[in-house]
Amino acid sequence: MSQATLNAENDVMTIAGRLDAAGAAGIWPAARAARASRVDASGIDYCDGAGAALLFELIQRGAKIDGLADGYATLLAELQPDQPLSTAPAPAHEPWVARLGGITAAVLASLRDRVSFIGDITIAVKTLLISPRRFRLGAAVQIAGSAGADALPIVALISFLLGVILAFQSAIPMKQFGAELFVANLVGLGLVRELSPLMTAVLLAGRTGAAFAAELGTMKTNQEIDALTTMGLEPMRFLVLPRLVAVTLMTPLLSVLAEVIGLFGGGLVLLTLDIPLKTAFAQVTQTVALTDYLGGLAKSAIFGFGIAAIGCWRGLRTGSGAQAVGEAATKAVVTSLVFLVVTDGLFALAYYYLGW
């Protein structure tokens, strides 16, 4: 197994030995630099695709190959060494105005697509109200299970820690004023009005929204969505509606659970400050009004609807390939989080003006 060797004398380059990828790699730079007009290839005892590529390049540079064994000469001839290789066209340089215009057009198209998706949902809901028997209840229950019941452990853990941390952090300064009792008010209001609905929704966005986008995205790349459409089953009714209904109903339930467990966590911290659970509970019921509770639930339902709609929308708009599915899942989570923050702000504003 002799390595490839190269000798350049005057105008003749002699290549010999084994011209495989390793052999070719060893002599390629020297061969490129030699600029001989004739190559003596009679000493080549093995030549594979990489070796033939080297000889190809030498021919392209104007050299003539002599003495190459017949089999290898056939291989080289198949590569059409008289035809130059096509090279990649230089990427066209767009002026910044054109790029700005392109981005603006893409953003507007995306906004328009969002509005039309909401329109599609509205039409599907209307059809559902007219003929409720066409709703896929079984699928919705199954999705509710995976989005709701299966999320219980993580929601419970995070809410418990949230309650404990909130109570603990507020108890330290409150204690200086002898106002430990009011920690219960703070934890109660904070959890019920704001933190439980928001935290549950953030968890669902990461867990369920991303799953919807990946699932529908994979279905799209596998042409399953096309198959449904050509079978006369609108993806909107068949795939999106059950998900929307399931998640919209499940999020408030998870929120309630998060509130209860969070309050319990806060109560445990108060217990260490010698405030009995019963007192803490009485304090919470005095502070937290029914409007706070119902406002939180309404917010939860809207959050759930948004997360499911964004997940489905991103999934149905997936491009092709594994990368596109990953991108759809990422975008679903990011869009959901932006949606949550903006919507939460709007709710805060609305509740302020409503005096709730």
Binding site: D20, A21, A24, G49, A50, F56, G71, L85, S86, A88
Partner: protein, 251 residues
């Protein structure tokens, strides 16, 4: 070629998934430079056999040698090195969707050779020229038709100039002209580079065009029911399933 050391040897290969036995005690040799076709009806275990020969699955019992090394007894880095000595073109192409066609072919060259960037580029573009895709080098795989993706996959499998090339249904989904061109390419590569091809296919035209020998598997026999040249199998079928396959008869 029977006196030569076989390049692939499969010995008493049994593959079972739980209680389901797919292949039972399959044995055969493939000679170097041969175009060896594996054929059979749907569900007969062609793809299972291929997946075992390329090391993607471990057999329940039995042994496989590739180029003198026992695949079934090789582990770790040695197994990876052995797997680099052959190329595989999968049925769907299995191109990396995030890389352009050229980058798909370049990837093994970057990882496993010492060629410089300009040299790699020449090698990769010539592989694409060999499969007729030179003009599509900078396309993304998703922008290619199914047949083009298969040809790109063959170019990628050829990148490291393997001694053995495994092709899973290469001509399925191609138009007859492209399929025939692909068959001609396989024959040329086999004769000039002394490449050994193991091809899983159903296409009768392709089998007669390329195969030196054909191995036929059968679902009910769970193994090999015939191994000979395709002409012999067609003209003197050893059993009814073989005759039906070559004459396209229904049961």
């Amino acid at each position: 070629m029977p006196d030569q050391q076989p390049i692939i040897r499969v010995e008493n290969l049994t593959c079972a998934y739980g209680p389901v036995v797919v292949l039972k005690e399959v044995s055969f040799d493939v000679q170097a430079g041969e175009v060896f076709v594996i054929l059979g009806g749907s569900g007969c275990g062609k793809s299972t056999l291929l997946r075992h020969m390329i090391g993607l699955e471990r057999p329940s019992t039995g042994r496989i040698w590739l180029d003198g090394t026992e695949l079934t007894a090789t582990e770790g880095a040695a197994r990876q090195a052995l797997m680099r000595t052959f190329g595989v073109a999968y049925q769907s192409g299995a191109l990396f969707g995030s890389l352009s066609v050229l980058d798909n072919v370049l990837l093994p060259l970057i990882e496993f050779t010492t060629l410089d960037a300009a040299a790699r580029n020449v090698v990769a573009r010539l592989k694409l020229r060999q499969v007729g895709l030179e003009a599509y080098a900078d396309y993304m795989p998703a922008a290619l038709s199914g047949g083009m993706q298969k040809r790109a996959a063959i170019a990628r499998a050829l990148a490291l100039d393997p001694r053995i090339l495994f092709l899973d249904e290469p001509s399925a989904g191609l138009d007859p002209v492209t399929g025939a061109e692909l068959d001609a390419l396989i024959k040329r590569l086999a004769s000039t580079l002394k490449l050994t091809f193991v091809v899983v296919t159903h296409e009768l035209a392709s089998i007669f065009a390329i195969a030196d020998r054909a191995l036929m598997l059968d679902k009910s026999a769970k193994g090999v029911i015939a191994l000979d040249t395709p002409q012999t199998l067609r003209d003197h079928p050893p059993s009814a399933p073989v005759r039906r396959f070559f004459n396209r008869e229904t049961e």
